[in-house]
Assembly symmetry: C2
Homo-oligomer: 294 residues x 2
């Protein structure tokens, strides 16, 4: 892996995932100089305090100058503006990658903004905790998880290889797939589960105060797991839903039908139906344990 | 706590929670002889192999003979038959308690079956993992969790005190409340979250095979937590939904309205609404972390 080295790496956005990657690049000696770009001064102060970067700026155009690798790690709604801002300043031959949770729209709206001679490798490390901000990152967050790359047609093979090896250095398994397919899979495994968690915790938020305080007190059997998921970054998740709308709505529709069937079975006391359904889901859990993703 | 000792303790049902309590009673020297009753021979064999009880039987009537404490730890649908079977054989002055997740129906259908002179203390330790069976129990499962007791009107104060101290010996915090209120709180914190988890994992189970295998592979961001919850015992959960029908259906109805509102906001691109909703739920998570239930 000795040839996997980027003299100058620019992070546009350096929250939970961005800062985890920055730490990984440091640990693995993959990055020379790191420059971090963020909008908020507190973020940039934290980055310097944590020694995550040598240089900081709030100007994406300045950040990417002379960068060999540019990592976009901001909420999806910022991609368009960032693309326009950085395009004229990218060095020929630079690799641009991202860590966004939706890929089809990124490829459609962001990739065409990139100038010729710049190599784009859209990516999504399927990892992370519910925490946000540069303080919350750690390089082990990627270990044993999957990173999905959705290469553009006729993309640069060398760039794809380097980004693949970069994630592998964090002990990730790397898969490549079509962007639309990625978005459908993630709608089921991640986006809709998050929406459900946000919703059920929201439903509890609307309860009268005495009941709410008891919900918190007795949260230890199910609800707690939902609150952990529902503590994730609101802006990041807003953007995910808005940018993966079709796939999310399709899964929600299926889920809604299934939930209505469950509701009906409870109302009419159809115990056999419930039990049969509950027994089936155990099999999926076993597969996940076997796939070492538990 | 020297007077907290039961010469003879009968467990009717000895799965995850029952066996955890049996282990606790041993560790704390609260039980003399333990007798375990289960329907399946494999369970009884496991109980003997694990030395959880001195005696085993598949006959509840025989199990409770001369018992000073009887713990019902079976699925809720068995309570009626068990009540009828054990009633004529209970020793006067015996304490009967249970660990069921629904309390109002238990009090309505089970308590009246108990003969006079026997003291019933309905209880619910809000603890446990997704695992089942006597092998899966461990006494630390109760630590720092809540146990809710729903005492019957004009119940025996000494019996209530002993059951309270029994759970406290496992470092549980003990609360008492009205059974109907318990069922409403648990519908939100536990029953509906489990139903949702079962449903979404079920929806994934119905996917075409290639997509399903990818859902397993990339489960690490949200979905995984749901599969853990959805791996819980199917019979136990069937009985919970059938026995807490009204409260569960009421919460489901609220949830459904909220989910429809989310769905609509995604369809119409109402980012502000989504973000506002997502930001609110973070506050509940913080309260849970502060309440040390995280």
């Amino acid at each position: 892996m000795s040839d996997l080295f980027f003299e100058r790496v620019a992070f546009i956005g350096i929250g939970h995932i961005g800062s985890s990657l920055a730490r990984l690049l440091r640990r693995e000696k993959i990055a020379g100089t790191i420059i971090a770009c963020a909008r908020r001064k507190e973020t940039l102060d934290a980055v310097l305090r944590l020694k995550l970067a040598e240089e900081v700026t709030d100007d994406p155009a300045k950040a990417v100058e002379n960068a060999d690798l540019v990592v976009i790690a901001t909420p999806l709604s910022t991609y368009g503006d960032i693309g326009k801002a950085i395009a004229p300043h990218l060095k020929p031959g630079a690799i641009v990658t991202d860590v966004g949770s939706v890929k089809e729209l990124v490829i459609r709206d962001f990739v065409p903004l990139m100038p010729e001679g710049v190599h784009v490798v859209p990516g999504h490390p399927v990892a992370g905790t519910e925490n946000s901000g540069p303080e919350s990152g750690f390089p082990e967050v990627f270990r044993d998880r999957w990173c999905i790359l959705t290469p553009v047609p006729f993309g640069n093979a060398d760039a794809l290889d380097k980004i693949t090896r970069m994630w592998k250095s964090g002990q990730m398994q790397v898969a490549t797939m079509d962007a639309a397919h990625h978005d459908r899979v993630l709608a089921i495994t991640s986006h809709v589960p998050h929406l459900i968690a946000y919703t059920i915790v929201g439903t509890a938020t609307d309860l009268e105060d005495t009941l709410k305080s008891e919900v918190i007190k007795f949260s230890a059997s199910g609800f707690r797991d939902f609150t952990r998921i529902a503590a994730s970054d609101p802006v990041m998740w807003r953007d995910i839903f808005l940018n993966n709308r079709e796939a999310v709505l399709e899964v929600l529709q299926r889920l809604n039908e299934d939930l209505t069937a469950m509701q009906r079975a409870i109302r009419w006391g159809e115990g056999d139906k419930l039990q049969e359904r509950f027994a089936k889901t155990r099999a999926i859990r076993r597969s996940i344990v076997e796939a070492k993703q538990a």
